[in-house]
């Protein structure tokens, strides 16, 4: 991955010669190397331009006038999206959620993030490019400021609106490490297990149990991976944690390293957060200098553990733990078949624990206080607090650390949201609820979420502006390995489009629902199993919206469009389609 990243950043593409050289070096065929390259959004076989603009196109960005910004880019550059100017200077590309839902419209330009874009800012950016400025210089000109406690010069704002009980009060680096070295690794695992800490990435697997399984697998080499690939549209809490409290995360990783007898920890950082890599490395270096990482940590003989950062290259499914491991090994991020589980055979076929950023952070206060204290927070089945990334139609989008068990109504009041049509709990792969569910609580046992909360106001067209693009998102992000995930989602999207276009019948809604449910059992990984959730949960909770579109008693309506069907052949023979609708 690092070789490909270096080449891409240097040459603004991965040229054919480079593909050939890599293939020769690794004794692979060229198509094998291209197999990996073509999997990732930010790797390209064609040049992306000296300045490559990746403008986020998530539904929330459209709530904040993304369309105007996109138009401004097209007008300024004189080229359509997904192309490069003739002189090779600027390329403009659509890109899926980049973790900036709280400050849209946002774009990544050569790894640097631009937020709150407006047509005026677009003019300045393009002018800066024509003047040959560095991208950081352009960002500075638009008000990039120091962010985070130790300085990260960026336009991004962290928007922490509620600091909870777990992560923020008086954290001092190193205390948890000093404490655990007086205990055995088994005791540390037992404490975490007793706390009922569950994975904060979304799936909610008990963390202590995962650690215990890994220890049971034995093996002399064990890896700890921190999953910082938050790709679920609408989440950005890891971004904030990584910026505000990187040392807390690294300390949590070292605690896990001690508990698992792992010597190496790896942070798999999504490419969208490329801008903070050097910042994180600086923090790692400071930890090493203070003996919180490296050899004989805090003076404990044999407690050796260090951390490196591995960048991804733009793929949602790499957030799935086995897809992430495949990606770390330099392959396509296709989730693996289970068994074996990563705790048995993961990275380089060694026992591997993959934990989410937030999860690892929460280990530290559990060690410093204790499991019983942690369990006093939250609910019986969901102990502790949860970081929520809240975006969409509300007064204060941003990050909130709340106790599990908060109801949706309470959440909406907290963020200043009124006239709410729907809340997408857990992002596209989660569930889409209507106000009759707003009394329910945010917890693993009720409304589970990895942190994404998208609030959709009454004025929006839910099906056209959210459910349809979310389905498109899954089509694009499917690794393509499983037939039903790869192809069924396309069928569902087309069926949904038929209904939205007014060509649907009652039977179409019923079929859409039945077909959508097929994927839940048929697919291998979480992406495939949840790809139809936007459709399934919106039919369950907003059937009226679908029914409004099919006000017809007819049993069948064709979506066939003769004019479209003959367009290509007419163009070839130079005729103008002349078809009267029947």
């Amino acid at each position: 991955m690092d070789i490909l990243l270096d080449i891409q950043e240097t040459y603004r593409q991965i040229p054919d010669e480079a593909v050939g050289m890599i293939a020769d070096q690794l004794e692979l065929s060229k198509v094998d190397v291209e197999e990996t390259i073509s999997f990732y959004h930010f790797f390209t076989l064609e040049p992306v331009g000296k300045y490559a603009i990746y403008l986020n196109d998530s539904p929330v960005s459209f709530m904040h006038h993304r369309a105007d910004v996109a138009d401004a880019f097209v007008k300024e550059l004189g080229i359509p999206f997904n192309s490069v100017t003739d002189d090779g200077l600027v390329g403009i590309w659509d890109t899926a959620d980049i973790g900036m839902n709280d400050q849209e419209p946002a774009a990544i330009i050569n790894g640097i993030v631009f937020t709150y874009l407006t047509p005026t800012k677009v003019k300045d950016i393009i002018q800066g490019m024509r003047d040959g400025k560095e991208v950081q210089e352009i960002a500075d000109g638009l008000g990039a400021e120091l962010d985070g406690p130790e300085g990260l010069r960026t336009m991004i704002q962290n928007h922490i609106h509620l600091k909870g009980d777990v992560l923020f009060p008086g954290y001092e680096v190193g205390n948890a490490l000093k404490q655990i070295v007086t205990e055995t690794p088994e005791e540390v695992v037992a404490e975490v297990k007793d706390s009922n800490l569950r994975g904060r990435g979304g799936a909610g697997f008990p963390t202590g149990l995962k650690w215990e399984y890994c220890r049971q697998s034995g093996g002399d080499e064990v890896y700890l991976i921190c999953n910082a690939d938050e790709g679920e549209p609408g989440t950005f809490k890891e971004r904030v944690i990584l910026t505000e409290l990187p040392k807390l995360l690294f300390e949590g990783m070292a605690v896990a390293g001690y508990a698992l007898d792992a010597k190496e920890g790896i942070v798999y950082l999504r490419y969208e957060y490329r801008y903070m890599k050097e910042y994180l490395e600086k923090n790692l270096q400071e930890m090493r200098e203070n003996n919180f990482l490296g050899k004989n940590i805090v003076g404990k003989s044999g407690f050796d553990f260090d951390i490196r950062i591995q960048l991804g290259a733009g793929s949602y499914v790499c957030g799935e733990e086995s897809g992430l491991i495949e990606s770390m090994e330099g392959k396509r991020g296709e989730p693996r078949n289970r068994p074996p589980f990563p705790v048995q055979s993961g990275y380089l076929n060694k026992p591997t624990v993959v934990n989410n950023v937030e999860t690892l952070c929460k280990v530290v206060p559990i060690i410093l206080k204790d499991a019983d204290w942690f369990k006093t927070l939250g609910t019986k089945e969901s102990a502790g607090t949860k970081f929520l990334s809240i975006s969409g139609d509300c007064k204060d989008p941003g990050v909130y650390e709340v106790e599990w068990g908060m109801t949706i109504n309470e959440m909406l009041e907290m963020v200043g949201a009124t006239d709410v049509q729907a809340v997408k709990v857990g992002g596209p792969s989660g569930t889409c609820i209507d106000p009759s569910h707003f009394g329910r609580s945010i917890a693993f046992e009720d409304l589970a979420t990895g942190g994404s909360m998208i609030i959709i106001g009454e004025k929006h067209n839910l099906l056209k502006d959210f459910i349809l693009p979310f389905t498109d998102f899954f089509i694009e992000e499917s690794c393509g390995s499983c037939a039903p995930c790869r192809s069924l989602t396309v069928i569902l999207r087309d069926k949904l489009q038929k209904i939205i276009d007014g060509n649907g019948t009652q039977k179409d809604i019923d079929e859409l629902y039945d077909w959508a449910r097929l994927g839940r059992t048929a697919n291998r990984c979480g992406l495939g199993q949840t790809a139809a959730n936007p459709i399934i949960t919106s039919i369950e909770n907003f059937r009226n919206l679908y029914e409004d579109l099919v006000k017809t008693d007819e049993e069948f309506l064709s979506a066939f469009n003769m004019e479209q069907a003959v367009a290509e052949s007419c163009e070839v023979v130079g005729r103008i389609p002349n078809i009267k609708s029947h």
């Binding site: 065929s29 094998d32 037939a483 790869r486």
Partner: protein, 234 residues
């Protein structure tokens, strides 16, 4: 429960025995039970990608090709719920490619077609996508027709030249993923290797050039007996 050191398990109530480490699909075959699959190749690491071999293992949906047998395992295979799912997956594969059986050299030897017959697909419930795919006739002995490809990865996992993969995935997602052929390596394949590549392909995406229709349609493998019969009638 063991007999001669073998693992005991059940498929739809039938007593079966398996070697340690054997997958459910291979063990089923050894016990005369057919579990359909379009991606599995015995002896090659399972891909678990076509999802047609979906069975219930102790009540849970699993792919039979990726799941090793454990002692006392209870497998459900030939039940309406699973057969319905398999039929749906087969229909998905039909509509997401361009499969015109009557004019295809693989007709009668095609596993997708044979499974469609076995699971009694009359017409797919889904609308045809008619996607625009492509053909690659650059290699001397191989004709690669992506219209018929079901992306099962069999060729990717088995066809090599000098230890290097001849076929690979390209792209990702529901609309851009396809299989590509390494031009240089593919052109080096011998006639015999091309023939083997054609045989490993469950459909008509990989064809050997220059020779076709030696066996007339109507006299081919699945024209005589439904797919799986050889396993069940053993």
């Amino acid at each position: 429960m063991n007999k001669n050191g073998k693992l005991y398990f059940e498929i739809d109530g039938k007593a079966c025995y398996a070697e340690e480490g054997q997958s459910v699909i291979d063990a089923a075959k050894a016990n005369g039970v057919f579990i359909p699959s379009l991606c599995h190749v015995e002896g090659v690491k399972a891909a678990g990608s076509c999802r047609v071999c979906n069975v219930k293992v102790n009540g849970r949906n699993m792919t039979a090709c990726t799941t090793p047998v454990t002692d006392g395992m209870v497998v459900e295979n030939d039940i309406p719920e699973l057969n319905e799912l398999r039929q749906a997956i087969i229909e998905v594969l039909f509509v997401s490619g361009n499969h015109f059986c009557p004019s295809c050299e693989k007709s009668g030897n095609c596993e997708l077609q044979a499974l469609a017959y076995r699971y009694q697909m009359l017409v797919p419930r889904f609308p045809y996508e008619f996607p625009i795919k492509g053909v690659d006739a650059s290699a001397e002995h191989i004709f690669h027709d992506r219209n018929r490809c079901i992306l099962c990865k069999r060729c990717i996992r088995t066809v090599t030249k000098d230890g290097k993969n001849v076929f690979a995935f390209h792209g990702r997602g529901g609309e851009h993923l396809h299989v590509v052929m390494d031009e240089e390596l593919a052109s080096q394949l011998t006639e015999e290797e091309a023939k083997q590549a054609m045989e490993i392909c469950p459909v008509g995406a990989i064809l050997k050039k220059e020779q076709g229709y030696i066996v007339p349609i109507g006299e081919r493998k699945f024209d005589k007996l439904p797919i799986g019969s050889d396993i069940e009638n053993k």
